[in-house]
């Protein structure tokens, strides 16, 4: 599948050239779909995902790498998309929150578990927590509560006090074990 959204002639990119910034042609795969876009070299990957590719499920809470809301998987590993240039993601496979559910819309066990556990409130932080949790469970399918808390400590939530989010991960662990996923 290819979704090409490249347009090098926008007023934005013209002005960027005038401002002395490079424009890069970027080729990435996001949630299984290939994208070819022209973006400012200074544009962080988070902005590329949200504004150029149009997947707004990934959020920006601080843009300096502390809050974790922008966490995505890059070639399967969690990373802060605000701390990378889009250009650095050339050729990678990226997974965002929109890529968690199955093709038929079936929720990923972590999504289902968060729903059951009342994991989030405003849910602005949710994309980062979900991607961090997925990364944790990929590597360690049976984490202790302490391990879950440590792994999630790179993500800030202001609403919940975290207990419900931790419970959501624990629920997902149980469900995934039972279903053998």
């Amino acid at each position: 599948m290819t979704d090409t959204t490249s347009n090098t002639d926008t007023p934005r990119l013209q002005a960027e050239r005038d401002a002395g910034g490079s424009i890069v042609d970027l080729s990435v795969t996001v949630n299984g779909t290939h994208h070819q876009v022209s973006v400012e070299a200074r544009r962080p990957l988070s902005d590329v995902i949200r504004e150029d590719i149009g997947l707004t499920g990934t959020h920006l809470g601080c843009e300096h790498g502390v809050c974790g809301a922008c966490t995505v998987l890059i070639d399967g590993e969690p990373a802060r998309s605000c701390l990378m240039l889009g250009a650095q993601a050339e050729g990678t496979e990226i997974t965002t929150i929109e890529g968690l559910a199955g093709p038929d819309g079936e929720l990923h066990p972590i999504q289902q578990a968060m729903m059951e556990a009342h994991g989030f409130q405003c849910a602005f932080c949710a994309p980062g927590f979900l991607m961090s949790a997925v990364a944790l469970l990929d590597e360690n399918p049976d984490p202790t509560t302490a391990e879950i808390r440590e792994e999630l400590s790179g993500n800030l939530c202001r609403c919940t006090g975290y207990q419900s989010i931790v419970a959501g991960v624990e629920t997902a662990v149980r469900v995934m074990k039972e279903s053998g996923k």
Partner: protein, 854 residues
């Protein structure tokens, strides 16, 4: 009331309706909107805390690549009105100021111009090219500076940096203090904090070809924003406004009739208002009357008022209840450039001026008898409101809440509070979750200080003085009625049964062996959620008119249930809880109910929106009342169709039938169609069944209460504090959704723990912000926040059909007191006296005598 239609959803932790879209990443927050041709706004902000603006040269910025326009403070003076004084209290000076500063800056971050460009990055390039000639003024960095008569006034017309000084006295304070065995005095200081929702503020403003403005905004208060933008933008001369009014008679008469009905429905509150505040304001600044006249006439002349919209909002905690200067500037910019203008605040801006709170100094004296009986209470409070007052709710209103609530759940013979508000060169003071919470902190802290002085245990001293059911009904010394819903004593008694003190003492001894200090702390309180009818009048006469909210339940022609609310959900799960309430009343399934919110074209006017613990009691009460009435209408119509009495109609799972005969039922769609065919058409939404009511929660109890007890563990080697145990016993009356209530309590406690151990909006002695990033303003993580046990009591307010009470603020209100009390208790061997709310590791080790202050 028939109970036969209940689906039994209220009281269950049903899964959230919101979650499917939010967990898929399909939510729609303000930053997600990206209309064609949008321009990005970035504010030029002052790097100086306090300075005169001699000149601004934006010519280079205007020529910069991608720049569409640069609007300065001077430009905005021509097109917008200043923020008017809204709450005029006796002894208060309220400044008027424009969205952008043109003459003077009053904090680091003060907006002086806005750049519009093709991308946020290009706009950030251009703001560096705006040359502002500042002439520095002496900064006013803290309360001590502001109280000094020689400090440079932020507001010349105020005459000094003390903008309010007012004393309220209840009872014969002098006699009570003279007659008590002892008077104990301590001063408590709370540091500046910040709400810090994970989503920053933001606004996207579009003006269509007909001049109609649509504002997408992450606001807790959509209608207030709508009216303020209408009032302050698109400024015309008085003559032009009057001409427009004369030309359009319809508008004039409809406005006049709207005004008349508002005056009529709030006549008692209006009569009660104390006008001495306005008189005092007039004395200091006569121009406000003229400005308000111009604003009023300008409003009357408007062709149309903006539409404010929001779907998902990423938290607020009060900060998004403020109408920002940036909101006005962005709207004015959209009017001037003819393209959609989008402003998404970044985190640095948010930490600078997205809302700060809680900086209060309180000197508290307790007059007490040797047996522990509380006699009198005196408080001398100074609040630091920063550079600009929060609008519409800022330090003045909150000072009144503190005044009313400071005596807490205890009996006093006399009480006096002096409230001063000072202006300093810091971020604006806004309402932050339980805005009055420092009354609980200082009072509960002071009770522990008193207990230590008297040699009585903190629990015993509280129980000795706390008002119990035997004394009810009664009233707080400050006025509000106390009924059974003021169940603080029950929460304390229950909480004490959950703690094994012998085990705690054993743990404490064991910890001491390891160089750790354990301590236990209690905090008990009640909060107005929404408070009894006379609560708001005790705050300020006439302010009861802030309370009502109008909402509707409708049944559309296809039988679907649609609820309209003026609430602005931003994490509280209204779509779920309101559906639970409506579904129970109507006898339908949860997902048969749809909630419409966040669009001022579709919802009724509300001054507040979501805030002040209104979502459950007021908004939820509206849903219950209106759904109940619509159910009655449906039963009546169905009775005709089923040929039975309305009282015999039963509705289960959407099946409307004669009681006991479900097989011969009819559907909502059938009844709605019949009603529509018979000509039923609601006035507001045109649906076959609809009912709306304006509800103020009056008469339905009104207090939520809680006791928090925590155990802290202090490592003397590192000053780090952990929580072996944290428990909350809360009573918010009947619970709609326990999982949601637990989430509110735990989230509040987490913020309260943050307040004590991690969070400080830090300024240096020259009022330069030191905490402008998340590396320096520290929100606690999952490693810092413990598990919090939540125990529920459900005291009912007898005799009232709607009894939901708010629970969003209590966790935050109690936690700083419980935690600081526990820390002082832990360090009792070191004679520590905790008088500041902020206790970072350095302070902990200073209190423990391990280190000396630098």
């Amino acid at each position: 009331m028939s109970s036969t239609n209940r689906s039994g959803l209220v009281g269950q932790s049903v899964q959230r309706v919101e979650d499917d879209r939010l967990l898929r990443g399909n939510g729609q927050y303000i930053a997600d909107l990206d209309p064609d041709n949008v321009v990005h706004a970035v504010f030029v902000r002052s790097p100086m805390p306090h300075a005169k603006i001699n000149s601004i040269d934006a010519s280079a910025a205007r020529r910069a690549p991608g720049v569409v326009a640069v609007i300065t403070g001077d430009d905005l003076k021509d097109t917008t009105h200043p923020f008017p004084p809204l709450l005029m209290l006796p002894g208060l000076y309220t400044p008027m100021y424009h969205a952008l500063s043109a003459d003077k800056v009053r904090l680091v971050g003060d907006p002086v111009a806005v750049v519009l460009a093709e991308s946020r990055a290009l706009a950030e390039d251009a703001i560096e090219l705006v040359e502002v000639d500042y002439e520095p003024l002496e900064p006013v960095a803290d309360i001590a500076d502001a109280l000094s008569p020689s400090s440079e006034p932020l507001w010349e017309k105020a005459g000094s940096n003390v903008v309010m000084d007012h004393t309220d006295t209840f009872g014969d304070i002098d006699a009570v203090f003279a007659g008590a065995d002892r008077v104990i005095t301590e001063r408590f200081e709370c540091q500046r904090q910040s709400n810090q929702p994970m989503e920053t503020r933001g606004s996207l403003v579009m003006v269509d070809d007909d001049g109609h403005m649509t504002i997408h905004n992450a606001t807790q208060s959509s209608h207030a924003l709508r009216w303020l933008v209408a009032a302050l933008t698109d400024k015309q001369s008085m003559g032009a406004s009057l001409k427009a009014i004369a030309k359009n008679k319809d508008r004039r008469s409809s406005f006049a009739s709207g005004m008349k009905s508002f005056l009529q429905s709030n006549s008692d509150d209006l009569k009660d208002q104390d006008n001495s505040g306005a008189a005092a304001q007039f004395k200091k600044d006569k121009s406000f009357l003229g400005a308000m006249n111009k604003i009023g006439v300008g409003l009357l002349a408007k062709e149309s008022y903006p539409t404010v919209k929001a779907q998902d909002i990423g938290g607020g905690f009060g900060a998004k209840g403020s109408i920002a200067r940036e909101d006005i500037a962005v709207a004015a910019a959209a009017l001037s450039v003819g393209r959609p203008v989008k402003w998404i605040e970044d985190r640095i801006e948010n930490l600078m001026d997205g809302g700060q709170a809680r900086e209060e100094s309180m000197t508290v004296s307790i007059a007490v008898d040797n047996d522990g009986t509380f006699r009198g209470l005196k408080v001398d409070m100074v609040m630091d409101q920063g550079a600009y007052p929060g609008f519409p709710v800022g330090a003045p209103m909150i000072s009144k809440m503190i005044k009313v609530m400071f005596p807490g759940s205890y009996k006093w013979d006399a009480y006096e509070i002096r409230s001063r508000i000072v202006a300093t060169n810091k971020g604006k003071y806004v309402a932050y979750r339980g805005p009055w919470a420092n009354e609980t902190w200082a009072r509960e802290r002071m009770i522990d200080v008193t207990a230590a002085a008297l040699g009585i245990s903190p629990a015993e001293l509280r129980l000795k003085n706390m008002i119990g059911e035997d004394a009810m009904p009664t009233a707080m010394i400050t006025g509000p009625t106390i009924d059974a819903t003021m169940s603080t004593r029950k929460t304390l008694e229950h909480a004490l049964t959950l703690v094994d003190m012998e085990q705690f003492e054993a743990d404490r001894a064991e910890a001491a062996e390891r160089g750790h200090c354990l301590g236990i702390g209690i905090a008990s309180y009640h909060e107005a959620a929404p408070g009894p009818p006379n609560y708001w009048d005790s705050i300020n006469p006439g302010s009861g008119m802030l309370m009502p909210e109008e909402g509707y339940t409708t049944i559309e022609a296809d039988g679907s249930v649609v609820i309209y609310t003026s609430q602005m959900p931003h994490g509280q799960s209204h779509e779920t809880t309101y559906a639970q309430v409506a579904a129970d009343e109507l006898g339908v399934a949860l997902d048969d109910v749809k909630l419409v919110y966040g669009n001022t074209d579709k919802t009724s006017f509300s001054l507040i929106g979501t805030g002040g613990s209104r979502g459950g009691p007021i908004g939820g009460g509206v849903v219950r009342k209106t759904s109940r009435e619509v159910r009655r209408q449906i039963a009546e119509k169905a009775a005709d169709m089923l040929e039975c009495a309305a009282d015999d109609v039963e509705i289960i799972d959407g099946n409307i039938h004669v009681a006991g005969v479900p097989a011969r039922g009819i559907t909502f769609a059938e009844v709605a169609k019949q009603a529509a065919d018979d000509g039923a058409k609601g006035d507001k939404y045109g649906t076959p069944f609809e009912y709306g009511t304006n509800y103020n929660g009056a008469g339905d109890g009104g207090w939520s209460t809680a006791t928090q007890i925590c155990v802290v563990d202090i490592d003397l080697g590192t000053g780090k504090v952990t929580f072996p145990r944290y428990l909350v016993v809360e009573d918010c009356g009947p619970i709609i959704n326990p999982a949601i209530v637990n989430g509110q309590v735990r989230g509040g406690v987490a913020q309260g723990i943050g307040s004590v151990l991690y969070e400080q909006a830090t300024y240096d002695e020259d009022a330069n912000l030191q905490s402008a990033t998340y590396m320096d303003y520290l929100l606690p993580t999952a490693m810092e926040i413990p598990e919090v046990e939540v125990h529920h009591l459900e005291t009912h307010s007898e005799g009232f059909e709607n009894d939901f009470r708010g629970v969003g603020e209590g966790g935050m209100i109690g936690a700083p007191a419980a935690v600081t009390n526990a820390i002082e208790n832990a360090l009792s061997d070191y004679n520590a006296r905790v008088t500041t709310q902020y206790l970072p590791p350095t302070k902990i080790l200073e209190l423990a005598g391990q280190i000396s202050p630098d």
